[in-house]
Amino acid sequence: MATEYGPIIIVVLIVLAVCLSFSIGANDETVAPLAAAGTLKFKFVLVLGGIGIAFGMIFLSEGVASLVGEKILGPGIKYTIFMLLSVLISSILWLVIGSFSGVPLSSTHSLIGSIFGVVIVYALYVGNVDLATAFNQEKLMSVVISWFISPLAGLVVTYVLYKIIAKFFLSKLKGLNQIEKNESRFTWALLASVFFAEIWVGANSAEALGILYAMYSTGEISLVTYYLFVVICGIFAFLGLYIAGRYVIRNLASQLTDARPSDGFIIQLSSALILMVCTVVYSVPISHSHVIVFCIIGMNIAQKKEVDYKGLGKMGIFWVLTFPIAALFAGFLYFGFISFGLY
C-alpha cells in the first residue's frame, strides 16, 4: 500500500521541503540591523541577505543535512517516506502553534524532536529495533548538548567581544560627532558580519535539506536530484527573504533605528561565529533564534542594561517543551500512518 503512494509522497515531501526553505528565508531577520542603519537601500539589503542564505544553503549545508538526514539514526534504521512526512507535518504544526502564541520557536528543535518521535515509534512497532541502538547516541547527544551550549556560548562571546571593543575603542570616543563618524565605519563592518551570519544561517538550516538528504540516503532520489533540489531550496530561501521576509525585516528595523551599528556588528559576528563552529566543526543543527536572543542578553549584560527575564522565562518554557511536544506530535502521526499500513 505504501509503495502505491510512494511517488506522490515523494513529490509532497519535496514540495514541503521547498516551501520550508521559502519560510526559512521569510522568517529570517538577520539583516534587520543593517536595514535599520539606513545607509544602504532596503532592496539591496534584502538581496544581500538572500544571496548569503542561498549561498550557505547550497554550498555549506551538507554536513548538517547529512546528520539530520542519516547520521543521527542508529545502524539498523533508515527513514521511510511516511516517517519523513510525519516529521515535516509535525514540525510545521508546532511552528504554526508557536507563531500564534507569539513565541520565537526553534524549527531545528521541533524537527529533531519530530525525528526522535517517529524513530521511537518505528523502533517499537515496525522495525523491532532496540531503542538503545535506534539512534546514533553520540550524534544525538552532540545535537542536544549543542542546544544548551550554543546560546550560552553566544552570550559569552558577545559579552567578551563587546568588552574588548568597548575598552580599546568605544570608550575613547568623547563626542557625538566622533561617535557618529565611528559608527558609520561600523556600518560597513555590520554589512560584512550580517552577510557572514546569513551564510551560516543558510548552512545550518537543516530542516529542508535534512529531509532531502534523508530521501537521497534511502535511495528515493538520486544524488543529482538531491543537489538540484538543494539549489532550488537555496533559491526559494532567497525568494522567501526577498518577497515575504521584507515585512518582518522592515518591522524589526523600524524598532532598531536607535541601535548602534557597532552593537549590531558585535551581535551578528558572535552569532555567526557560533553558527560557523557548529556547522563546520560539529555539523550539528542549532537554533539561530536562541543564539541571537542570548547574544542580545550578553550585550545587555555587558552594557549593564535591563534583561527581560519574564519574556526569557516564557521562551525558556517553550524551548523545553518544543522537543517533547514535537516528538509526541510526530510519534502519534506516524503511529496513525502505521495503523493504516503506511510505514
Binding site: A36, K167, E180, S184
Partner: protein
C-alpha cells in the same frame, strides 16, 4: 537683524547648523534679559527695541528649515537622528518661551515698587544669563566632548536651584506688598517672574536631556 545666506547654510553640517541655531536663540535670550534690565532702569525705548528684536528675528526659521531638510535626507548615523531632532526642537522651544514672554512684557510699561525688588530681579536675571550662556556652551560640546557638556549641565542645574530660592523670595515679597492684587503692576510683575521661571525651568530640563544623551552615548571602560 540676523540673516543668513542660503548657500552658506547649505554647506553647513547638521552639527554646525545646531550651533548656529543655538547661537541665534541664545543671542535672543540675552537680548530679552538685557531688555528686562532696561525696564528695571525705566529705559523704555531700549526695552521696546530689545523685545522687538526678540519678536521680529526670524533668522532661526531659515536655519531650522535647512536643518530639517538636511536631517531628513541624511543617511548617516540613523541612530542619533531622533536625538539630534529632539535637541533642535528643545532649542526651538526656548525661542517660543522667550517670544511669549517678550510679547507679554510689551503689553504694559511697569514701574517697579522699590529698589530692593529691582536689585533682587537683577540677581535673578544675571543667573538666567549665566545658565543661558552655559547651555549654549553645553550644546556646542555635544559634538566634541560629552563629558564636559555633562559637567556644564550640572553647573546649570546647581545655578537653577539657587535661582529658584531667589525667585520664590521675590514672589513672596511681591505678594506681601501693600498693593491691590488686581492691579496691573502686580499682575505684570507676577507674569514677569513666572515667565523668567518658565525659561529657566526649560533650560534646566534641556540640560538634563543633554546629560541623558551623555549617559546614552558615552561608554566607559
Amino acid at each position: 537683524m540676523l540673516e543668513f545666506d542660503e548657500d552658506t547654510l547649505k554647506k553647513k553640517s547638521i552639527d554646525e547648523l545646531t550651533h548656529l541655531f543655538m547661537d541665534s536663540i541664545n543671542e535672543q535670550n540675552l537680548k530679552l534679559i538685557e531688555g528686562i534690565e532696561y525696564l528695571i532702569e525705566e529705559d523704555f525705548d531700549n526695552f521696546q527695541k530689545n523685545l522687538d528684536y526678540v519678536i521680529q528675528t526670524t533668522a532661526e526659521v531659515q536655519i531650522k528649515k535647512r536643518f530639517e531638510k538636511k536631517i531628513f535626507k541624511s543617511k548617516k548615523a540613523a541612530f542619533t537622528k531622533a536625538d539630534r531632532l529632539k535637541l533642535f526642537s528643545k532649542i526651538n522651544d526656548m525661542k517660543s518661551i522667550g517670544e511669549f514672554l517678550a510679547r507679554k512684557l510689551l503689553l504694559y510699561r511697569v514701574i517697579f515698587p522699590d529698589q530692593e525688588f529691582k536689585v533682587r530681579l537683577e540677581v535673578i536675571l544675571n543667573s538666567l544669563k549665566n545658565i543661558s550662556n552655559n547651555l549654549s556652551k553645553a550644546v556646542k560640546l555635544i559634538g566634541t566632548d560629552l563629558i564636559k557638556a555633562h559637567d556644564i549641565c550640572e553647573d546649570i542645574k546647581e545655578e537653577r536651584r539657587e535661582m529658584r530660592k531667589s525667585e520664590w523670595a521675590l514672589l513672596t515679597r511681591l505678594w506681601n506688598y501693600d498693593m491691590d492684587y488686581l492691579s496691573r503692576t502686580f499682575a505684570y510683575l507676577k507674569d514677569l517672574l513666572e515667565g523668567i521661571m518658565m525659561l529657566a525651568d526649560h533650560i534646566k530640563t534641556f540640560s538634563e536631556s543633554i546629560q541623558f544623551l551623555s549617559t546614552k552615548y558615552l561608554i566607559f571602560k
